[in-house]
């Protein structure tokens, strides 16, 4: 479980804090979506979960340990148990696909033969067996993100952090990458935390969500709970606006009932 406790982040020379007094609980096995516009502090928040960014105040407690209190060595250990994927993929261009996936295993000090075996499994998991020898510059965006996912999972992490993982992809590729994340979640039972500005991502795979606005947490919780609260901002954002939909149809000469109802 990840507990974010009164987290704050102030960048030096910047008046408004990037994050202000954020408290959040992320249960084991959740797919937790943190939704917000650009500049809301999402990237800072997710980077505080593996301390790529140091919070100015507050604690991040992962599996009952305050990771802000760990020394360098312990922190590196902790990071090995937390995979991360990125909007810009961040693959190493000097290495081919198989070699990219093996990087976390090299860092963890796993012997060569075991690495090769694990890489093979991961290529299969993300459906890129035929691309093992390809270089990142020869792949499409969706393929690059699949490599990113395989790499993030290589060291068998308990948590997967997704930093706008589908924002650089077109809608179809986004759907297939989300489907992959969903199936990995079912197979491996890990906890996924993702940040996004796309409602569709939250709709597609999340079971819990939080809304971030100007560095402050507006609301958070299980979607099954939030959707039952009529005044929930997330509920309003996620569900289609019936009135606007009917106005739109009427403007184009069609009467009241929509042709298909979005569930």
């Amino acid at each position: 479980m990840i507990e974010i406790d009164r987290l704050g982040k102030i960048y030096p020379g910047n008046g408004r804090p990037a994050l202000h007094d954020i408290s959040l609980k992320i249960d084991d096995g959740a797919i937790y979506g943190i939704l917000g516009r650009s500049g809301a502090g999402k990237s800072t928040l997710i980077r505080c979960l593996n301390l790529l960014e140091r919070p100015s105040s507050g604690r991040v407690i992962v599996d009952n340990r305050d990771i802000t209190a760990l020394n360098q060595r312990e922190l590196r250990r902790q990071r090995q148990r937390t995979g991360m994927i990125f909007q810009q993929f961040n693959l190493l261009h000097a290495r081919n696909v198989a070699s990219n996936i093996s990087v976390p295993l090299e860092i963890a000090g796993i012997p060569r033969r075991e690495r090769a075996q694990r890489v093979e499994e991961l290529l299969q998991l993300v459906g890129l067996q035929d691309k093992a020898q390809a270089f990142p510059s020869q792949l499409s965006g969706g393929q690059k993100q699949r490599v990113g996912i395989a790499r993030a999972l290589a060291a068998r992490p308990r948590y997967l952090l997704c930093d706008e993982a589908t924002s650089a992809l077109d809608p179809e590729t986004t759907a297939s990458v989300l489907a992959l994340l969903g199936s990995i979640h079912r197979q491996l039972g890990l906890t996924i935390v993702l940040i996004t500005h796309e409602l569709e991502v939250v709709k597609a795979i999340c079971d819990s969500a939080a809304l971030l606005e100007q560095g402050r947490l507006v609301e958070s919780g299980k979607l099954s709970t939030l959707l039952r609260q009529p005044d929930s901002r997330l509920r309003q954002a996620l569900l289609p606006d019936r009135q606007a939909e009917q106005d739109f149809l009427r403007r184009h000469g069609m009467e009241a009932t929509p042709l298909c109802v979005v569930a």
Partner: protein
């Protein structure tokens, strides 16, 4: 002006001088990279917002490098004579010339390395850190391999500069093509030799540059 030496005498002279120049350039490049590469990496990682922030050390190194780079090479060449004698035991000949050439070039190369590291997308560094990578991992798995094309281009640039430096070393008796050009071309007005040294130098620079270009483009998939 008159033309002096006959062709039979000219070629061995030019040939030996060319070998001396190559000897100086190759060894000086080796030592320049040996000193400049780690220094450039240190300069990059020690930045205030770097992966191993040591702002004090960074500014000390930066100052030393700037001092080294602000001295014209001819001045450095003369100023370093006592130092060269201390290390090599003599100040004459090509081996002795390698010392001032290296010292003149490594600050430049360190800056080249720093710039090449700076071009590596920070996201790739962040990715390695997110896996639990140490500073050593970041340097070995990201900075050096990802910057390799830029580093090779930088080494090529440095080598061409070193060909120029090695010629100037002729002023203090360093041997090589510069030495020949000064003794025969300048002091004896021998046009044949002057032209021959120029031709060899041009060929050398072209050769280094095109080998460098070829190496860089063979790594094109890394972009």
């Amino acid at each position: 002006m008159r033309s002096g030496m006959s062709w039979e005498n000219l070629w061995p002279l030019i040939f030996n001088a060319t070998l001396e120049t190559l000897y100086m350039v190759l060894f000086a490049t080796f030592f320049t990279v040996l000193i400049g590469l780690p220094l450039g990496v240190l300069l990059f990682v020690s930045r205030r917002n770097g992966i191993l922030p040591m702002p004090r050390l960074h500014s000390v190194l930066g100052t030393i490098i700037n001092v080294g780079r602000s001295l014209p090479f001819v001045v450095l060449l003369v100023a370093l004579i006592p130092f060269t004698r201390l290390i090599i035991g003599t100040t004459l000949g090509s081996t002795a010339a390698i010392v001032p050439i290296t010292i003149g070039a490594f600050p430049f190369f360190a800056r080249v390395v720093e710039t090449a590291m700076d071009e590596v997308d920070y996201g790739r560094i962040e990715a390695i850190l997110s896996m639990g990578g140490s500073v050593r991992h970041v340097i070995g798995k990201v900075l050096l391999p990802e910057a390799l094309p830029s580093l090779l281009a930088g080494i090529t640039l440095t080598m061409v500069m070193l060909i120029g430096f090695s010629s100037m070393a002729g002023v203090i008796g360093g041997g090589g093509l510069g030495d020949v050009a000064i003794r025969y071309g300048y002091q004896r007005f021998d046009n044949h030799i002057m032209v021959a040294t120029i031709v060899v130098l041009i060929v050398m620079v072209q050769g280094v540059q095109s080998i460098g270009n070829r190496l860089v483009s063979s790594l094109a998939h890394r972009r």
